[in-house]
Symmetry: C2
Subunit: 447 residues, 2 copies
């Protein structure tokens, strides 16, 4: 019998196994998919992700941070493409801070390799979880190669099996689980710009490219090999939607009108569009995360968020670090340990979930508008004058490790300062004037 079973060998599951093994506990991991280190091909679900300070700090704490950095592309800001093909650069931070773009599968492979080579952790692939006995606790898995159904008992089970967690479904049936899932009317689809694309915007490798278009948008993430992984965000149904773009011509017309500078660099656009799945965006919250010290949800299984802040993986990694802290503190009192884990993390994951919904609307609708750019300009100005007293929300989330709840609280306070400066007459023309500097000084003096 395994001491601890982890269900799901994705980003959170593989990192969690490292933390558990690092504390001298035996752990085995089961995953329904084939080993991505062996399987080839691109499922169209491998959209890139970004790692930021808080995620990298966790990876550093187990010694795998630099391996990950070496496989990622640092990016320093957004490059906004408007419909007239004009470009505007928005730095993410005021001090040339970077976030790191990396493909989900590359990151996953690194973590699996590290877990296997440093700790000898046993991963069982092709093992789909059919059922969970919360009391035993045990899981029943079916091998997709052999068809063999097996029961695996453990002292404890962690479920890092993602947004549509099989373990959580069992908890929903058995427990009084508070639960909500809210879908966005839009979904996103992966489209590729191959590495041999050359010239114009594709020369800009150290930025995230964004084509905000109101009801839809395109985002391009750079890869180490010079390629870009783009995601098209679009309504699933309606007049302009994944459902409405039925023919090659309709698709090409739409891209020519909306993203003319992209078309020459996407030779596989038509194939990608009509073969890749449209991935849903869903916010999932639930409570409690654990059952009697025996079974606990973690990562996307416990909280699923929109990808808009690039925080999914970072938040899941922070879960692992907090769980490890609780393991240090509470030893073998697993009931208390798992409750404490939830009570430390859930307020934070709720906060980032709400912020992601808010930021998605901002990215899509506002990132290209004068009002948004002006607010960003004001924030930059305040931050330059008061680098220790003022940090914008994006920076707090991305370039610090302060709890999400704290970032949210500070931001709501700070907003009132920007609101007041926005009310200065003709602020558009006066951003660098002594008058505005005086207003900033006055407002910041009382903070």
């Amino acid at each position: 019998m395994a001491e601890i079973i982890v269900v799901g060998a994705g980003l959170v599951g593989s990192l969690l196994s490292i933390f558990i093994a690092g504390r001298g506990r035996e752990v085995e991991v089961y995953d329904r998919m084939p080993d991505i280190r062996l399987a080839g091909g691109n499922s169209g679900r491998s959209i890139n992700l970004t790692l930021c300070e808080r995620g990298l700090k966790v990876l550093d704490s187990v010694g795998v941070g630099d391996v990950v950095r070496a496989a990622a592309v640092p990016v320093y800001g957004r490059l906004i493409h408007d419909v007239k093909e004009e470009l505007t650069f928005q730095p993410y931070g005021n001090h040339r801070e970077a976030i790191y773009s990396i493909s989900r599968s590359d990151l996953n492979k690194i973590l699996l390799d590290y877990a296997a080579s440093h700790y000898g952790i046993k991963f069982h692939f092709d093992e789909k979880c059919l059922g969970v006995d919360l009391d035993a606790p045990s899981i029943e898995t079916k091998n997709s190669q052999t068809g063999l159904v097996t029961n695996h008992k453990a002292e404890r089970i962690f479920a890092s099996d993602g947004a549509f967690s099989a373990v959580r479904l069992q908890m929903q049936k058995k427990l009084r689980l508070n639960f909500s899932q809210q879908y966005w009317e839009q979904a996103y689809k992966e489209l590729r710009v191959p590495p041999d694309a050359a010239g114009k915007w594709t020369a800009e490798k150290n930025v995230i490219h964004v084509w905000p278009r109101g009801n839809y948008m395109l985002i391009g993430f750079p890869n180490l090999d010079g390629s870009f992984t783009c995601s098209l965000h679009l309504a699933l149904e309606g007049p302009l939607s994944f459902a409405s773009l039925k023919t090659k011509d309709a698709l090409l017309d739409f891209f020519q009108d909306s993203f003319p500078d992209v078309v020459p660099h996407m030779p596989e656009l038509v194939t990608d569009f009509f073969t890749h799945p449209a991935n849903s965006m869903v916010t999932i919250k639930c409570s409690p995360w654990s059952y009697e010290g025996k079974v606990s949800l973690i990562g996307d299984a416990a909280h699923s968020i929109f990808p808009s802040y690039g925080q999914g993986a970072n938040a899941g990694f922070e879960d692992c670090a907090t769980l490890a802290e609780c393991m240090e503190q509470y030893g073998d009192d697993w009931t208390t340990l798992l409750k404490e884990f939830e009570s430390r993390r859930r307020p934070n994951t709720n906060a980032i979930a709400d912020l992601c919904v808010e930021h998605f609307v901002e990215l899509r609708d506002l990132v290209g508008t004068p009002g948004f750019l002006l607010r960003k300009g004001i924030e930059r100005k305040i931050n330059q004058a008061y680098p220790d007293k003022y940090k914008d929300l994006y920076s707090m989330i991305t370039f610090t490790c302060m709890p999400y709840t704290e970032a949210l609280r500070v931001d709501r306070e700070q907003r009132t300062v920007v609101d007041q400066i926005m009310r200065v007459e003709d602020i558009e023309q006066k951003l660098d004037s002594p008058e505005v500097e005086r207003v900033i000084d006055r407002l910041m003096a009382v903070r």
Copy 2:
């Protein structure tokens, strides 16, 4: 193949079958439980319910209203029992309006009998729904007597299989279903006062008895035979909870302290308490309710609410009436019909769900407090002076058929009037003074 299958032969399922058959369509109903008309005994889940204007109007429209009224006890208000055994009567309406207390199983039996005798509708009991094929559409059921598993195909399937709907679970797996379920930390348990109880409060048959005690409460519903069905609302866990009351002595001490006037009339208290289940209170919302014109949720399967306003059955019956209207209007265009059904009903069921949470807190915490009684007194006064211009929320929900959304909107407007009158100095002493009457006149003149 059946034209229409209804899953669940509870209150909504049996009434729905009557509406469908009444429109000349063939319908068969499957239920996982035995036929309650044959099965004896009391499961402890048969808490009484109350029918009000909107539910009775629907029952009248299919001709079964008077049969139901004859099996119910009309009640005209709440009789509040305080800890000192003092009683205060609060009429539900200002014009001696009644709501009707009836046991869930008696009402269900009436509807099943009516459906079978007037329309020859086929009910299949002991058939547990194991799975649903949304595309076919079809259901797979297992007979709990014979063990036989059968597949039943239909043109359309309605799921009235309650708050923990098997059909909805399938929709949640297959569709992008927005879904939330929020449990209350309290649950309720059925306790009986037998018909031979005599004297004191049990002589008051035409009221709902309420023992509000802050963190917990007892409610007593009268039955035709002179018995009362009581429900004890209490936390599931914690210092004083269903979990903490572990022994006969602890239970009796608690009742003697909290509900001394009840104890002599509950000879079966100990047995009832330790054998009856604690029923959860849960608010469930979801969307969409239907799949491609083939499958639709209805009643508790689509929206589950707290029992605090006594609206669960009434809201479910209104669902049936609205669906019937849509059937008249849209004929065989089921995709439009089911979407329209949801768009007419869901705003209303969302509104009553939120109001029920609000009212439960009010009932438990406020019903016995002077502030609450004063507000009720002010509302009664305004309503007496302006019966056409002012109706309190409870009356709008209970004694009218106005949509729940409209009742909510009107109430929020009216609250500002009561708020202003509450601010009159020494209002407690002045309720019947000309001064307050003038304030009321002035405020109502501008409405």
